[in-house]
Subunit: 168 residues, 2 copies
């Protein structure tokens, strides 16, 4: 327990959002792809907090933000774009999506997902990626992508549980 990820502590989350939006705009510009109003809006909604959001939740958020009704393809197409550009990741175990904190560099996603508060933190652990690749290679397998999802309890929730334990 050395460098606790930001998501686990109180922090000015508007910075997270702003940073994500700024780098998304830069990234899309430099790649010559269009970060349209809709895509930007979806990305911003996803970044509202550090918890993965389902496509249908996003759909409702979009709908309530704009009076008009929003159908599934609208949000799925935006998500497809954001996934392609590496701006968001999909968490298979939850059928949900979360913003990527480092979209500029291609990487495999490793997540710590808290059972209690739903917060999902992306690990940036290159050694793990290499361990996984070498494990697969030992079996003669050619790796293209991989996904690692770790379920458990985050440090913030562990702390709360301790306090409650003492109080009761």
């Amino acid at each position: 327990m050395e460098k606790t990820p930001l998501a686990y502590s109180h922090h000015n989350h508007s910075h997270c959002i702003k940073d994500a939006m700024v780098s998304a705009r830069h990234l899309c510009e430099s790649r010559g792809v269009r970060l349209t109003a809709l895509r930007e809006q979806v990305l911003e909604l996803i970044w509202q907090n550090h918890k993965p959001l389902g496509a249908y939740t996003l759909m409702e958020m979009l709908a309530s933000a704009s009076t008009r009704r929003v159908a599934p393809p609208t949000v799925y197409r935006a998500l497809d774009f954001l996934l392609e550009q590496g701006l968001v990741h999909r968490i298979n175990g939850l059928n949900a999506f979360i913003g990527c904190p480092s979209p500029e560099k291609k990487h495999q996603s490793h997540f710590l997902i808290c059972r209690l508060c739903d917060t999902a933190v992306e690990l940036d652990n290159n050694k793990l990626t290499q361990d996984i690749q070498s494990s697969a290679k030992d079996a003669g397998f050619v790796v293209e992508t991989h996904s690692l999802e770790v379920m458990g309890v985050c440090p913030a929730c562990t702390g709360k549980a301790h306090k409650e334990g003492r109080a009761s």
Copy 2:
């Protein structure tokens, strides 16, 4: 590339099935849980090959095997039981289920999933589990379970691709 998993080579698959069924029966007996006819049938269907099967595919197989119609809850309940007992695993990335080759020992599931032939092989790599746990621990996270799904091309399909490459 040392010990190629069995699933990648030609093998007498009836042995795989029989082994799985025998150990499932032993396991359930020793645990005092009931491996009913339905559950046994679902497990046997799952073991038809080394490819993950979706719940609805299993449903159709059940239906066509028994004239009567089979509804989703029937197969999902059997799958829930088999999952609880560790007799099958769920592959989140595919919404599919596959038999566990070593149900007697509790473990985290690591899969190599071939994009070309769909074969999914379970790795038995304790070191990887420990690496993942220590990575999570560094972030102050208490691990309960994890799932690792590696996508790519299996050695059998890599071989075929090479042959085709030469031929054309």
